[in-house]
């Protein structure tokens, strides 16, 4: 009969009208500035640079200015200038560091590719989303001071990933230390021995030629 579908619809809306007062499943609104939803760990919004310590972020950046992210960034929003000198990084190893590290957040599209290609776990995606500024140009061009955030912050926003990264870095560091120790040991033992007679023929330094099929 004409009207039965209409009445059915009116029933559904009435159910929702009443339901929205007592059923939290029906009233799903989050009152934003007062309430905030909990972000999932995977949430990503603009990259930041991980520094080992909060006190000296510029001195302990993990970034070694290898410029891979700069090359891979699809919208080309990263600009890195390598330092002329080397500084000890958090582990004390001498490394090149980024003298300039700029991300144009007005161009960045939060794709996470810089994070994926970074071999040093130096750049990670942030959880910050309240990033509005009143200035359209330079306030959106983030320099390395603005980008650097300590590892503790990384742990705060992404506990699982940070723990995994720390474990891997520690293992790498340990391996490197052991290797260095072994090398030092070998060197020491080599030094202890009398020097071997210098060979007249220089060792073959040429790399093997690639096969023709390559």
């Amino acid at each position: 009969m004409l009207g039965s579908g209409l009445l059915q619809g009116l029933g559904v809306t009435a159910k929702n009208l009443v339901g929205s007062f007592h059923d939290p499943k029906r009233l799903t609104t989050v009152e934003y500035p007062e309430q905030k939803t909990k972000l999932p760990e995977a949430y990503r919004n603009f990259p930041f640079l991980v520094s080992e310590s909060a006190e000296d972020p510029m001195g302990t950046l993990r970034c070694v200015a290898c410029q891979i992210c700069e090359k891979e960034c699809p919208p080309q929003c990263i600009f890195i200038e390598k330092s002329k000198d080397k500084k000890p990084d958090a582990t004390g190893k001498m490394q090149i560091y980024p003298a300039v590290f700029l991300i144009d957040s007005s161009v960045c599209m939060n794709c996470q590719i810089c994070v994926e290609v970074c071999p040093f776990d130096a750049i990670k995606m942030d959880h910050e989303y309240e990033i509005a500024t009143t200035e359209r140009f330079n306030a959106l061009l983030l320099d390395r001071e603005a980008l650097a955030k300590p590892n503790s912050y990384f742990h705060e926003i992404r506990p699982e990933e940070a723990a995994e990264v720390d474990g891997r870095l520690a293992a790498e560091r340990k391996a490197a230390e052991e290797k260095a120790k072994a090398a030092a040991l070998a060197k020491a033992s080599a030094a202890a021995k009398p020097a071997a007679p210098p060979s007249a023929v220089p060792p073959k330094a040429e790399p093997p030629k690639p096969s023709a099929s390559a």
Binding site: L6, T13, L17, T29
Partner: protein, 402 residues
């Protein structure tokens, strides 16, 4: 609104009249009628102005709740100050008139619309002895004034010199003319049965109780129910409310005849829509829902104007509820619905009412027969015409590809 106070009424019932007498007593006797009229104007504008404000908020709140969101809740506690904020915003906006518009008509349209919408309030009895102007042909006056809105909407659409507005103007004209007829036909039975065109007379005809408890409102008779439904459907269309909001169909015509209006004039249109809706609901209460009468004898201690208000607001909520649920009709369907469904139904309803009137004296088993025949006269045309109207439309079942 010149009726004297009836000392038998309760204090609350007498309150509006007492207030009136308090104010008008300061005027010399020859001017009291004028003061009376002014007072009624002020009261109508104040009460319905506030109701308009509350209604916009209620509409947004209810639509919100229906749609599983809280609705406006930032301005003041629970968003109660939202209408005031809206008002300030709208009134302080720049009034933009297109260069090529017909400036005079463009200006006159909202004024005409609002004026006619307000004039309609004059003849509605809001409570016992509470009718601003008790005309002998009050009902006729009401619908005459109501018909003016068509002209105003057309003026607005035509004068804007905008293609969307022009289409909206044509739509508005076709729609309002189509629905004027069922609207008028739907209340003719009421006049037939109560034998008067005066609104107070119609309310009086619905007083008293059958079997000591059942109100003798027209809506509780078969022809009254049918008339009420036809009236409300036509009222939806007359006041351009969803699902008949074709002139301002925002998904098709941007805002229809309102496209080129802004600021204060836009508010006038908005106000007129709500005033029209309120006035038509008020008339529906008067014609079919027993006016200001209480629904049960035991509830008569509540003042009459409160009953009127309760009925009015429930009808308005119904308008909002319908808006929250239905999609919009198309223009040709809209006019077909009027001419091929509502008008025949209303005409048949006239016959039903005539039968009801002729069979006035039937009692005992004949009373059951009277009700039965009337119900058949109402339901069978509804079903048959409805089937004809929706022929070919049905939920479908679907096959699956192999």
């Amino acid at each position: 609104m010149t009726a004297p106070i009836n000392p038998a009424d309760s204090l609350l019932e007498r309150a509006p009249q007492a207030l009136r007498d308090l104010v008008t007593s300061h005027f010399p006797q020859p001017w009291r009628w004028f003061a009376n009229g002014l007072l009624a104007d002020v009261a109508i504008l104040a009460v319905f102005g506030l109701l308009f404000a509350a209604l916009t908020l209620a509409e947004r709140k209810i639509l919100g709740r229906v749609q599983n969101r809280p609705g406006p809740n930032r301005t003041g506690p629970f968003g109660l100050l939202q209408p005031i904020a809206d008002g300030i915003k709208m009134l302080s906006k720049e009034d933009i008139v297109p260069r090529d518009a017909d400036h005079l008509l463009h200006f006159l349209a909202p004024v005409t619309l609002l004026a006619s919408a307000i004039m309609a309030f004059a003849v509605i009895p809001y409570g016992r002895n509470l009718v601003p102007v008790d005309l002998d042909a009050g009902v006729l006056y009401f619908f005459c004034v109501g018909a003016t809105t068509e002209l105003a909407v057309f003026m607005a659409g035509w004068s804007s010199h905008n293609k969307y507005s022009l289409l909206a103007a044509m739509r508005a004209l076709a729609q309002l003319i189509s629905y004027e007829l069922p609207l008028l036909l739907s209340w003719v039975p009421v006049v037939m049965i109560s034998g008067t065109l005066s609104t107070t007379g119609i309310v009086a005809a619905q007083s008293g109780w059958r079997w000591g408890w059942m109100p003798t409102w027209h809506v509780f008779t078969p022809w009254g129910l049918a008339g009420f439904i036809i009236f409300m459907v036509s009222a939806l269309a007359e006041s351009n409310r969803s699902p008949f909001d074709l002139p301002e169909a925002e998904s098709e015509l941007i805002a229809g005849h309102l496209t080129e209006y802004s600021g204060c004039k836009y508010v006038f249109f908005f106000m007129a829509e709500y005033f029209g809706m309120t006035a038509l609901s008020g008339m529906a209460v008067t014609l079919f829902l027993g006016g200001w009468h209480a629904p049960l004898p035991a509830l008569e201690f509540i003042p009459s104007y409160a009953w009127f208000g309760i009925k009015l607001i429930s009808l308005l909520m119904g308008f909002i509820w319908i808006r929250a649920t239905f999609p919009r009709l198309r223009m040709d369907q809209l006019t077909r619905f009027a001419w091929k469904f509502l008008v025949p139904l209303a005409l048949i309803n006239l016959a039903t009412a005539a039968f009801w009137s002729l069979s006035f004296g039937w009692s005992g088993p004949m009373l059951a027969a009277r009700c039965g025949v009337a119900l058949v006269l109402v339901i069978v045309p509804f079903v048959l015409l409805g089937r004809r109207l929706t022929a070919g439309l049905a939920p479908r079942s679907y096959a699956y590809a192999t």
